[in-house]
């Protein structure tokens, strides 16, 4: 719209300005086109390739699959597609259990993260304005240090002869070392610890935006503080709760490092299963099928996340 208005004015001005305008228009096209193309090639198209390979047969070769569809013979080969890998996934209870257990572990961890993150975010949002930036930085700082390092740090703490057990036994709280490492508890701790900043930040921004006089108004109308929290503060922080939970839940479902380093051999998580299928068994088609189903499971929460982002963006405008 603006372009037409400008070019209408341009008819009276001289040509150099015309070329400059054309140049500007070209630039703005490029600003959109370059990242767009990049993401198409490196983000979207790979998913189609994953899907394609999930439909092909396993082969002992390099690459270890028989290609099904080239662009040219797409229509001829479409009839030969094999859903064997998906059938295989349904036949082996391992995969089904891994999906269920991933969702269960991610769900419990997300809830625990919310439980721990909320009071911290609340405390930060009610802290004096002068210290808030510092607190915010302190929450973000661990996020800048390596994920792997942070998970690794817990091994030394949770081991049977680790620091936590040493401490508890010195304090005579327990006689026998607790077995935490290589259990689901360790995975919960790892996920909560690693993803806590992702929960705190959206919660904090929701709580910080909230007008404190609303709480005063509730108190004034006879509502004691705890009840005012549940009736006013919590409902108003729900966008932050939703964003935080999605930011933790979605990546946690596909988490690999945490179950691999902290979890036990009997712990089933789909990210780990996929990794093993790919690296140990070298079964690319099956791991692609695993990835596609994981993606399907996450499509709804991811869309939900997109929607929340878009809405936040709309409000920010």
């Amino acid at each position: 719209m603006a372009d037409t208005a400008i070019s209408a004015r341009d008819t009276v001005s001289e040509t150099p300005s015309m070329t400059r305008r054309l140049f500007s228009a070209l630039i703005s096209r490029l600003v959109i086109a370059i990242p767009y193309l990049w993401l198409l090639v490196f983000f979207l198209i790979p998913f189609f390739i994953v899907f394609k390979i999930s439909l092909s047969q396993t082969a002992i070769a390099m690459p270890p699959y028989t290609p099904v569809i080239g662009v040219s013979d797409f229509f001829q080969k479409i009839g030969e597609l094999s859903f064997d890998n998906y059938v295989w996934l349904t036949e082996d209870a391992l995969y089904f259990n891994a999906y269920i257990s991933s969702i269960w572990i991610a769900g419990v961890s997300t809830f625990l993260t919310l439980l721990i993150g909320y009071p911290i975010a609340y405390g930060m949002a009610r802290a004096p304005t002068t210290v808030r930036p510092t607190l915010l930085m302190l929450v973000i700082l661990p996020f800048w240090t390596s994920f792997l390092i942070r998970v690794y740090a817990w091994i030394g703490i949770l081991k049977p002869e680790g620091l936590l057990n040493q401490l508890l036994m010195t304090l005579n709280i327990i006689d026998e070392p607790l077995i935490i490492l290589n259990t689901n508890t360790a995975i919960f701790i790892g996920i909560v610890y690693s993803y806590l900043p992702f929960m705190i930040l959206p919660l904090y921004s929701a709580l910080e935006k909230m007008d404190y006089t609303l709480i005063e108004a509730a108190n004034d109308l006879g509502c004691p503080p705890l009840s005012a929290f549940w009736k006013i503060t919590f409902p108003l922080s729900l966008p932050g709760v939703v964003a935080g939970c999605l930011l933790v839940f979605i990546p946690a479902v596909g988490e690999f490092v945490i179950p691999d380093l902290l979890g036990g051999s009997e712990t089933l998580m789909i990210g780990k299963t996929l990794w093993n299928e790919f690296n140990a068994n070298r079964d690319w088609p099956v791991s692609s099928a695993v990835a596609i189903i994981l993606l399907l499971l996450l499509v709804v929460p991811i869309m939900f996340f997109q929607h929340a982002q878009a809405k936040a963006q709309e409000q920010g405008r």
Binding site: S28, I32, P119, Y193, I302
Partner: protein, 272 residues
Amino acid sequence: MNTTWSRFNVTSIALGFAFLYLPIVILVIFSFNESKLVTVWSGFSTKWYGSLLQNQGLLDAAWVTVRVGVIAATFATVLGTMAALALTRYTRFRGRILFSGMVFAPLVMPEVITGLSLLLLFVAVGLDRGFLTVTLAHITFSMCFVAVVVQSRLLTFDRSLEEAAMDLGATPVTTFFHVTLPVILPAIVSGWMLAFTLSLDDLVIASFTSGPGATTLPMKIYSQVRLGVTPEINAACTILIAIVAVGVIAASLVNKRREVQRLRDEQGAQRG
């Protein structure tokens, strides 16, 4: 009533930060442990740092990681800034919904999926796995983080500044480089830093997309961690933490100084 609530607040913040920092602090402390056991303190020593310097494999991996990080972060910053501009400035273009979807989805996409899909792409086009493929993968997922950081700055940007510049005769391109860019520069810089750390940090995507000769530091650390916890890894981690901490704290101090300076200038201007 207020005091008990703030006591609650102080407690929850203190406990929360203890939880966030204690494991890291413990890890750093035990990097100076004399003994090979990571969990039993037997005296102060810096010998693990010394042995780290002898570990050629680790040093090579570190060098690869830094190179990948710098290149990936730089490209990701350019692409991410463009994506942010496209999202905030051009509200109507064909496929905008798909575009914004592709920008936001990688933020939460499980790394195993991103890694696998990129690997399969590289295999499909016949690109050998190595330095180039890791870098391309890192550019792709970190540009989205840059886009989000820059976009949030652009959303609070006062558009009338740009309009004023154009009203005074500047072309859109000149306006961008002389008005928009200086204002969003802090966001771009923190976007670069974020992209760099993400690249430095990444294990899963790198493991999928990297090949022989391009082993990154997280991959190296991971393979050693699987063999057992050693103070040498603690030492390596401590160095990484120190680098990041110094970088982040320095950046925030610079920001703070600039802020203080601005406040002082404003007060001075009012007094004068």
